[in-house]
């Protein structure tokens, strides 16, 4: 059986009709059509699917889409300004070599934003801890940590 719900993604209302077992990630990617958030492990280990739900981080592969009915979802696409200008964290990831294959990047950026929103000037230890729910197989993390530091100290 399908149920009606309205997801507010990056400020736009999307009415959807979905089965109870559907994950928030699959609905964002398929019904809403925003493919920034990624399915990595599909098991809540890697953080590639991380989005904000009412401003708080959630691994969207493991959250029921129907529970997001009427709530605000922010994906990586929502970090970019209306004019297409990159968020300072996005630019820093590019500048500091924080992106290689790019698969972990959307989740990394969401995690980094959550960190900086609560802790504007984190130590390297705090950055590494905050991002340790997000796995990256390419960069060795150094470029990612540098990117977050550059925005924090800026």
């Amino acid at each position: 059986m399908k149920y009606e719900a309205t997801l507010h993604v990056n400020g736009v209302a999307y009415p959807v009709e979905i089965e109870p077992g559907r994950s928030l990630l699959s609905v964002i990617r398929t019904e809403v059509g925003l493919t920034g958030a990624k399915e990595g492990c599909d098991d809540s280990e890697c953080g590639a699917c991380m989005v904000l739900l009412d401003g708080r981080p959630v691994n969207s592969c493991s959250y029921l889409a129907l529970q997001a009915d009427g709530r605000e979802v922010t994906t990586i696409e929502g970090l970019t300004g209306d004019d297409g200008e990159l968020h300072p964290l996005q630019q820093a990831f590019l500048d500091q070599g924080g992106v290689q294959c790019g698969f972990c990047t959307p989740g990394m950026l969401i995690s980094a934003k959550v960190l900086l929103d609560s802790t504007p000037n984190p130590s390297e230890e705090e950055i590494r801890l905050a991002l340790s729910g997000n796995l990256c197989r390419c960069t060795g993390y150094s470029g990612i940590v540098r990117a977050v530091q550059s925005v924090a100290s800026g």
Binding site: S23, D42, D43, S44, R56, S62, E125, S132
Partner: protein
Amino acid sequence: MSAATYTAAGSVEEALAALAAGARPVAGGTDLVVGARNGKAALPESLVAIHRLSDLGGIREQDGGLVLGALATHADIVASQPVCDRYTALADASAIVGSHATRSTGTIGGNVMNASPAMETGGPLICFGAVARFRSAGGEREVPLAELFAGPGRTTASPEELLTEVALPAPAAGTGSCYARLEYRRQMEIAIVGATAVVTLDGGTVSDARIAITALAPTIHRVAEAESALNGTDGAADAVAAAANAAAAASQPITDVRGSAEYRRAMAAVIARRAITTALARARGERFPIPASPALHGAVNGGAA
């Protein structure tokens, strides 16, 4: 993933009616949905979402103790000053659940009712004498946490009962506590081995010791031999070692993907010792970071304790 029907309860009464009709509750879904996605257990046929029940949220003072609403998240618990000050081991535990995404989404109610023998908050809740409060269409019931866990993933609650609150009695003056775990990864991890210590000092003597082991038996439980090894002592190193060894001797670990029984048994005394040492230090008024685990593993300040 299955789940044929879904309803989002608008009141506790609606949720209770749905449970009585056979639905199963979902709050943050960080265990239920993850378990379904990795094939551990399919989603229930019928789901009642309880995330909108604001009556079940929050943390409040009651009779000198604290009441955790079932929907209080781990992030709420870590952010609570009374928890950090008086129930420090619980803060240690909630602070290392999952990642910040898990802690923002996962609830204490779901954590308790998932009844994992490796759950971080179980040992602290048992040692603090927590009581689970249930409601069902038939009435209300209170169950001490120590009597709630029946086995891995099993509780003594019946399916139509909804956990609404977890009540923590006031700890005695002079109490310090710590939860420590062995971990391979800083986040998105659960205990390989865990230990909780809640100790009360009276004039430098341990007047009450509560020690529980995690991921070392089918259920998290206190170890009376470890507690009596510490009770009445001044908490010196030999007494701490005796208590930690007694905790390890009570373990019945299993071998699984996260560790062998031999490794768990070998690490049990180490982790128990770290928890007891830190709880004693906190009881003496010494500051120790929350969560304790990273510092105890030497990741933050060069290997205290």
